[in-house]
């Protein structure tokens, strides 16, 4: 394979970029090649235009439309990079790299799926939800304003919603939802803050449910070159080793992950 056949940073056209909740934006990008290659749970790198900011901003893919060659991202404004992104207008372009990471394992023999998302962990679960076959129980915890709920509703057998302040849905978080509604199943899929994932982990041990979770780490490259983004992953039960979240993850089986925070 010569250099011509290699993967590289590409340009995507921005079709839409707008606010959907407090501090949360949705961006639709057009890039056939990357869209077609993307599996649920994978992410892409967005790069800043401003060359004082060199590192990638990894953002999970929320939804892909293979016919249109478009993908949807949902992102929060956190720092300088995402502040730059919200200024981008439809018609402009952005540099991206991807798809990156391993994605969910959807080939397990599973009848009842539980999809558990908190806050910005919700969008990356949408494409997965669309693709899973079997009964789907969806558990979403928001801070206050809801987003993407209608999209999830379409694919849900059961849908549970909470907000921290109780303004919509049940009051509380996803753990409250799981417990109060006695939700069980064969496999869960979860994405959210470290704190939430740890709580979900405890819940899953208690109920002996297997799961796949999506981890986040600060990344230097996102494609396996710098060994910056590691997480502690168990090896044969007891011992752990550092594995790269960007290429060996971001999706890991729940039982493999060492939660030591």
């Amino acid at each position: 394979m010569s250099q011509n056949d290699k993967k590289k940073r590409m340009t995507a056209k921005i079709l839409d970029n707008r606010q959907i909740a407090t501090n949360i934006y949705e961006m639709v990008l057009h890039n056939d090649e990357i869209t077609r290659a993307t599996m649920p749970g994978q992410f892409i790198n967005l790069y800043c235009r401003n060359e004082s900011k060199l590192l990638p901003r990894p953002i999970s893919v929320c939804e892909t439309d293979h016919n249109e060659g478009t993908m949807k991202l949902v992102y929060a404004v956190v720092g300088a990079g995402t502040k730059e992104f919200i200024e981008l207008q439809s018609g402009e372009t952005i540099d991206i790299l991807g798809p990156l990471g391993n994605g969910y394992d959807v080939n397990q023999p599973v009848k009842e799926h539980i999809i558990i998302g908190g806050g910005l962990g919700i969008p990356p679960l949408l494409e997965l939800t669309k693709r899973l076959r079997g009964k789907k129980k969806i558990v979403l915890g928001f801070r206050d304003k809801l987003f993407l709920v209608n999209e999830f509703k379409r694919y849900a057998d059961e849908l549970y919603i909470s907000t921290t302040d109780g303004s919509v849905g049940e009051q509380g978080n996803v753990i409250d939802l799981l417990n109060r509604n006695d939700i069980t199943g064969d496999m869960f899929y979860s994405c959210g803050s470290k704190r939430m994932l740890k709580a979900v982990h405890q819940w899953s041990i208690h109920h002996q449910i297997e799961g796949q979770i999506s981890l986040e780490e600060r990344m230097g490259c996102s494609f396996g070159a710098c060994v910056g983004c590691v997480a502690k992953i168990k090896r044969q039960g007891k011992q752990w080793e550092y594995k790269k979240v960007c290429t060996e993850g971001p999706i890991f089986f729940n039982k493999e992950v060492v939660f030591d925070v």
């Binding site: 600060r218 396996g224 710098c226 060994v227």
Partner: protein, 301 residues
């Protein structure tokens, strides 16, 4: 035009002067982006005698025009390297350089010893990593120590030895001279500068280790200066690095006195940076009708 990019370092001939900087290129992963056959050499990430776990996360932080890292030389150890990594690398038409790390002189020597008789072409002695508590930069900031460790490792290998210098010193030329008098066949510089970033909102350092190594275009002027100083102080070949992103950046190092150059951080933020740097060097040579890259070396006095 028929031009030559070949360079020779300590009797090893490289098809071109472009290699990766150690620790920023995992051959298996990077092979998706870079045609490794095009590279002058592949430099393997720091390898120690036993497996090293590396540091806690966060291990990277962005800075203005650069980045900090505190990976801490996570590596599977020399035995696993020989079993699993080296055979993979041998398939490519390029030279293999192994960056070796240790906590004690003995550990460095052990790694060198185990690489004897293998397809590894050269060794690069990493005595400049700011991200490990023992060894690392502690060896690289004391001229006597630089000379001693270089001499010892030389005794355990018949491969040419590159000594990688730390920029965190008052007089880079003293370290260069010490390495050469210890027997270094070549020098590479610069490793990362010790830096720190604090998250003002959480009021804590971003890196788990608090401090880490600064790299990327922000440090290029320091690197060029040090390459220039060292090239004018010693007589061994130099591999220059620190912030190279483009062919013109590479030429800057070569004009300052580097025989070859390495691309580190740029390859993280743009995975095809290495081949772009190579193309950039070629365009520059075409533009100015340079037949042989060696004509440019050290042209700036």
């Amino acid at each position: 035009m028929c031009k030559s990019l070949q360079v020779k370092i300590a009797d090893v001939t490289f098809k071109n002067p472009v290699m990766n900087a150690s620790g920023t290129f995992q051959p298996r992963e990077c092979a998706d982006y870079v045609d490794i056959n095009q590279l002058g050499a592949v430099v393997v990430k720091g390898i120690s005698s036993e497996p090293w776990t590396g540091n806690a996360t966060p291990r990277v932080a962005e800075t203005y025009g650069g980045m900090l890292n505190s990976v801490g030389l996570q590596n599977p150890g020399v035995d696993v390297f020989l079993q699993e990594e080296l055979p993979y690398l041998e398939q490519f038409d390029t030279k293999i350089i192994v960056n070796i790390a240790g906590r004690t002189i003995e550990e460095y020597c052990e790694v060198a010893e185990k690489l004897q008789g293998t397809s590894v072409e050269m060794l690069e002695l990493n005595i400049s990593c700011p991200n490990v508590k023992e060894g690392g930069v502690a060896f690289g900031t004391d001229a006597k120590m630089v000379e001693k460790i270089t001499g010892q490792v030389k005794r355990h290998t018949d491969k040419p030895l590159i000594v990688k210098l730390s920029p965190n010193v008052t007089h880079i030329t003293e370290m260069a001279k010490a390495a050469v008098s210890g027997g270094a066949d070549a020098l590479s510089l610069i490793n990362t500068l010790l830096g720190m970033r604090i998250d003002v909102h959480h009021r804590q350092p971003i890196l788990a280790t608090k401090m880490g190594g600064l790299s990327g275009p922000a440090v290029k002027p320091i690197a060029v200066r040090m390459v220039y100083q060292v090239a004018n102080a010693v007589d061994v070949p130099i591999i220059g690095m620190g912030g190279i992103q483009t062919g013109e950046d590479a030429i800057e190092f070569i004009l300052a006195g580097a025989d070859a150059i390495a691309v580190g951080t740029a390859g993280l933020t743009n995975p095809t940076a290495m081949t772009e740097v190579l193309q950039g060097i070629e365009s520059y040579m075409d533009q100015y009708n340079i037949q042989d890259i060696n004509e440019l070396r050290g042209l700036v006095k």
